[in-house]
Structure formats: structure tokens, C-alpha cells
């Protein structure tokens, strides 16, 4: 196993492996579900950025027919824990359907855990102010905290996370991702630096329908983690990126902030920049920094966030990790490297590098039309009004 990983991650046996993590995301803003071929091709083109110790994908629009169900993807590090877990799920939910996630034997994917998915609805009477989403988050936290060998790696509706130890192209092959379609795909190739490469530690990280893929490291992990614990989020995946998924869930779903504002909390303007802003912007940014100092993400990062109907790219304030954006028609791409975008969309013209801390957001806008440069041309009256 060791030597096989080494041969794949370092075929020329170089003294130094120059890896870095790769991220890629694609959203079709018309809402059309497409195959993941181009996303898999793109992330594979950045093979050198990963080292075979983590690869993964998030797909939205994944489970038509089960849109109303919470789709739990559960990773059984201990296969014997499955029966007890299913009994547990039946006690806490109505289990609409459960099945082993189809996989195929793939070279380079060794000793995979047992992987099942369950479609669940909440049949418990909940008190006012405590909704189904809150209930599901608490259930996920409880399962992952108990350390029975079962981990929920995906818990949203009509979406799912597929991840594991391997290169992303191997993980795609393993999970038969060619069988799925989605309007939003994110992908990750991992180069674990500070923490172990295990199946739960691969990206994307998820809570409900919020997923994050990340290149970099969150130096403020300890502060972020302790703050999130006060709101019931427990970090169990043994790596830093996890805090981002919970932070965005807290800010956007529970505190009701627009995702643009959430981005400002994660990567706020420097104090010296705030000093030069106009009074209104300075007041907002000062307020956000005062209310959420513990959700500021310190350290180098480039992330792609997926949520139902929405994709956001963001880098740290002084852009210590790369990200390039591109748009053509309804499709918006985000990537660690530009070549990957040109590979899957050869005639794309509009590519740009966002500033550090500047979110790039793509939203599904039914009925909207787009220019060839990817600008929103016309938004129908009933469509959600959104800007890039």
C-alpha cells in the first residue's frame, strides 16, 4: 500500500514532493444538471497538487425523487457498527430508504470503509424555534461524537459528498460518479500537511447542504473550534477545514446573514483598510469584526463553498492561496489553476483573479439569460435577483 501510494504521488522519486491541494468548482446557473466529466477532468489536470491521500466531490441536484429527504452518507470505519447505527437512525428519523453506496474496485483505493446512504425525514415533534435543520445538525453531531466507528459525512437534501483516500480521479472512479448529474459540483485533491489522511478527513466537509473544499490551512482553528462548540458544533474530523462548514452554517442558516456578509466575517478587511472606508462601510465592517472576532479565519486559504443553489469562492485577505474564476454563459468556474478551466472549456474568454477576501458568487437563477462572457443579461421577474 505504501509503495503503491508513493509510486502514484511521486512517480519519479523526487527528493521533494511539491504538492499543495487543488480545488475546482462549477455551477450551471440555469439549474441544469450535468455530468461531472468536466469537473473530474479539471481536477485530474491538477494531479500534481494532491498526493493521493485525499480526494472528494460534492454534487448538488443529486437525488431527484428524494428532494424532501435528508440524505445521510455514512462512513463505517467499523462495518460491525452498521446494524446498531441503522437501529439508531430508525429511532430518531423515519428511514425512507437506505442502501450501500455503489462503488467499483479501483486501483489506488485501498481498504475502503463500508459506505451507506440513507434518506431520512424528521418525524419527531419539535419545539417552536427548533427546526428540522437544527434537529438534524444535533443528530449528526451526536453520531460523530460517539465515535462508534460510524461518521456522517454528508447530511443535506438533494446533494451529497463522496470522498476518501486516493487521488480525486480514483475517488470518482470508485464512487461511480459517472452515474450522477448535478447543477453544482465541487472537487478537491488533498495534500494533508498537519493532519492524517483518512476517509473522514478528505474534503469536502459538510453539514446539512453546506460543503467546503479548501486549499491552505486555518491557523485560527483552535479559536474557531471553541467558539463553534458554544453553538453545538463539535469538530470530529481531525482537520482544520471542518470549522469552515460549521461557521458558514451558523452565519447563514442560523443567524440569517447573506453569504456575502458571511464572507466578510471569515475574511474581513484589515483595520487599516476600514480606517479608509466611507462611514457606512466602516461601521458595518467594524461591527462584524466586533461581533464575530472568533470566526475570522486566519492563515492562508482558498475555499469553494457549496450550498443549495449557490457556489462561492473566497481567499484569505492577502491571497496566500490561488484562485481563478471564469464564466461563460450560465456556467461559472472556480479553480486553483487556470489551465484546468481552459481544458474543459477551451473557448472561454472571461477569466479573472479575484482579490483576496473578495467573494465570487454564482447562484442558480431560473429563467435568467447570460451573455457569452457569463454576465447576467436578463433576470425574469420571479427569479431571485443576484449579482456575481
Amino acid at each position: 500500500m505504501r509503495s503503491e501510494i508513493r509510486d502514484l504521488s511521486n512517480p519519479y522519486h523526487d527528493d521533494k514532493v511539491s504538492a499543495a491541494c487543488a480545488i475546482f468548482g462549477m455551477i450551471d446557473r440555469s439549474g441544469q444538471c450535468v455530468s461531472g466529466d468536466s469537473v473530474i477532468t479539471a481536477i485530474t489536470n491538477m494531479h500534481e497538487r494532491g498526493n493521493g491521500l485525499g480526494g472528494g466531490f460534492a454534487i448538488y441536484g443529486l437525488y431527484p425523487g428524494y428532494e424532501a429527504c435528508y440524505a445521510f452518507h455514512i462512513l463505517y470505519m467499523n462495518p460491525d457498527s452498521r446494524e446498531a447505527m441503522e437501529e439508531h437512525l430508525r429511532r430518531r428519523f423515519r428511514l425512507v430508504m437506505g442502501e450501500e453506496i455503489p462503488t467499483r474496485p479501483t486501483r489506488g483505493v485501498v481498504n475502503p470503509p463500508l459506505l451507506w446512504r440513507y434518506f431520512l425525514t424528521v418525524n419527531t415533534k419539535l419545539s417552536p424555534g427548533y427546526g428540522e435543520d437544527d434537529y438534524v445538525v444535533d443528530q449528526v453531531m451526536e453520531i460523530n461524537r460517539e465515535r462508534t466507528g460510524a461518521f456522517v459525512i454528508s447530511s443535506g437534501k438533494n446533494m451529497g459528498v463522496f470522498k476518501g483516500v486516493g487521488f480525486p480521479e480514483q475517488i470518482a472512479e470508485f464512487f461511480r460518479l459517472d452515474d450522477y448529474a448535478g447543477y453544482l459540483w465541487t472537487a478537491h485533491a488533498r495534500f494533508p500537511t498537519n493532519t492524517t489522511g483518512w476517509w473522514g478527513g478528505a474534503h469536502p466537509f459538510d453539514i446539512l447542504d453546506c460543503t467546503v473544499v479548501h486549499n491552505g490551512e486555518i491557523s485560527s482553528y483552535g479559536i474557531n473550534r471553541r467558539y463553534l462548540e458554544m453553538y453545538g458544533y463539535e469538530c470530529t474530523m481531525e482537520t482544520d477545514t471542518e470549522v469552515l462548514a460549521y461557521a458558514i452554517d451558523l452565519l447563514v442558516r442560523r443567524h440569517g446573514l447573506p453569504i456575502e456578509i458571511a464572507a466578510t466575517v471569515l475574511a474581513p478587511p484589515l483595520w487599516s483598510e476600514i480606517e479608509q472606508e466611507d462611514a457606512e462601510a466602516a461601521r458595518l465592517h467594524t461591527l462584524l469584526r466586533q461581533v464575530y472576532p472568533s470566526l475570522l479565519m486566519n492563515g492562508p486559504f482558498a475555499i469553494i463553498v457549496g450550498r443549495t443553489g449557490e457556489m462561492m469562492g473566497l481567499t484569505d485577505r492577502i491571497r496566500l492561496r490561488p484562485m481563478i474564476a471564469a464564466a461563460k454563459g450560465p456556467v461559472l468556474y472556480l479553480s486553483s489553476e487556470e489551465a484546468a478551466i481552459h481544458l474543459v472549456c477551451p473557448d472561454i474568454q472571461n477569466t479573472w483573479t479575484p482579490l483576496g477576501g473578495e467573494p465570487v458568487i454564482g447562484r442558480v437563477m431560473p429563467g435568467a439569460t447570460f451573455t457569452s462572457a457569463g454576465e447576467v443579461e436578463h433576470v425574469s421577474a420571479d427569479a431571485e435577483v443576484a449579482t456575481r
Binding site: 491571497r319 489553476e337 489551465a339 481552459h342
Partner: protein
């Protein structure tokens, strides 16, 4: 000779599709050693280290999107990129020339010690970081568009010129750009104005009185030659010079 390397009387071409960085580098080296005076590489797509360490004085044309660390440690060729370039172009470039008919990513010319880089459009963060010079060996970068923050960070020598001709997104007009943070050698020439708040603490800016001084006009003319600009028009606008105030800005930082 590899079957996918075509030789047409000193003109060679390589199809890079499906080649990893090492396979492509070996084919390029073979072509140059075989006497190529002009080498075209098609379907370039993210391969790293293209041109690294090459010393032959040939013309190399790249079609597609070359990967990170293009022309690193290179000393000889002139590379034309017909497309956009990624991060780390000209990392520790030693000699030769890089011409990019598009934009480039972050840390352009990182630790560059010789040679020239011309980029038609804008570039990312930290262009010219750690550039250096030694006696009469002075590297130069000319950027046609705009730059993102931390231009010339820790710059120790050489020349960076930013023309801001065709920039759609004006990064140096953001509240803060930190131009020349930690800079202690060389000079940055900017066409147009810059607010004091956009400068790093270690630099000062003055109007450039004589555009012909320091070789600035010659570099701009060379840039205009590659990309079809009218040099007289470009040079007619006012320039400012950004220079380091201290030789050792952090000399006392850790000394008590």
C-alpha cells in the same frame, strides 16, 4: 527523434497534449539540443516548470496555458506565451525573455535575478517579490495592465514597470495595495498616480522627471513592440517612481 517532435529545418514543434511536465521537458530539451532555433509547443495545459534551466538561445512559442513556475531558473531562450500564464512565472529567472500575450498569476518574477518579463494584461499578487540585481545584471518586468497588492514585496533590485493600459479591474485603486512592502532595492515605475495609502511603509513615490533615465523608456518601447502599442503615446503620460527609503528596513526588527 520522438515521433511527436516535428523538425522543419531548425523549426521544431511538439504536441504537449497528455504529456506530464517531465515528459514535455525532455522533449523540449531534446529539440533544443538537436539545434532547434524555433520551437512551437501546442496544447500546453498546466504543465509546470516549462523552460526551467534552459540555456539555449532559441525562440519558444507556447500555445495554451503553461503551468506554474514557467521559465524558472532559465538563462537562454525567449519564450512567447500565446495565452495566459499561471503563478510563479520567471521564478529565479536568470536570463532570456518571457513575453505573455495575456495575463499572469501571482508572484510573477519571484526572486528573479536577470532577464526580462513582458505581460500584456494584468498580473496577480506580489509581482516582483524578492527580485534582485548584481552590478550591471538587472532584471526587468513590464506589466501592461494593472497589478494586485504587494507589488515588489521585499524587492531587492531590478526594475518593475506597470503601465495600467488595459486593466478592467483596477487593483491599485483599491483602498490598500501595499506596494513595495519590505522593499529595499531596485525601483518601481508606475504610469499614472498612486495614493500614499496604497504604498508600503518602506517606500516613497516621486514624479519621474526624465523618462529616458534608468532605461524605463527603452523597456516601454520594447513592450510596445511586442504588443502593438504606440510607444510615444504610452510614454506621454506622467510616470511616478517608487523607491525604497531604507537599505535595511528590518535591520533592527529582531535586534535589541
Amino acid at each position: 527523434m520522438e515521433s511527436d517532435i516535428a523538425d522543419l529545418g531548425g523549426q521544431y514543434s511538439i504536441d504537449a497534449r497528455g504529456l506530464d511536465h517531465r515528459a514535455l521537458a525532455l522533449r523540449m530539451r531534446d529539440a533544443l539540443r538537436a539545434g532547434a532555433s524555433q520551437l512551437s509547443v501546442y496544447n500546453v495545459c498546466g504543465q509546470r516548470y516549462i523552460g526551467t534551466g534552459l540555456r539555449e538561445a532559441a525562440r519558444v512559442d507556447l500555445y495554451g496555458t503553461p503551468g506554474n513556475d514557467l521559465a524558472s531558473f532559465m538563462r537562454g531562450p525567449t519564450i512567447y506565451v500565446h495565452g495566459n500564464a499561471q503563478d510563479g512565472c520567471g521564478n529565479t529567472l536568470d536570463g532570456g525573455t518571457l513575453v505573455v500575450y495575456g495575463h499572469a498569476g501571482d508572484i510573477l518574477g519571484y526572486a528573479m535575478r536577470g532577464g526580462k518579463i513582458f505581460v500584456r494584461d494584468s498580473v496577480g499578487y506580489r509581482a516582483g517579490i524578492h527580485m534582485k540585481e548584481y552590478k550591471d545584471v538587472k532584471p526587468a518586468i513590464v506589466i501592461g495592465g494593472d497589478v494586485q497588492p504587494f507589488l515588489g514585496e521585499y524587492m531587492a533590485g531590478g526594475t518593475v514597470i506597470v503601465l495600467r493600459l488595459n486593466a478592467h479591474r483596477h487593483a491599485t485603486r483599491q483602498p490598500q495595495s501595499f506596494v513595495g512592502t519590505g522593499m529595499h532595492g531596485g525601483a518601481i515605475y508606475l504610469r499614472g498616480e498612486i495614493a500614499p495609502s496604497q504604498l508600503g511603509r518602506e517606500v516613497a513615490a516621486v514624479p519621474l522627471d526624465d523618462i529616458e533615465a534608468d532605461g524605463v523608456a527603452d523597456l516601454v518601447r520594447e513592450f510596445c513592440g511586442y504588443f502593438g502599442y504606440n510607444a510615444a503615446e504610452v510614454l506621454a503620460a506622467p510616470f511616478i517612481k517608487i523607491y525604497p527609503k531604507y537599505l535595511r528596513p528590518y535591520g533592527r526588527l529582531y535586534a535589541y
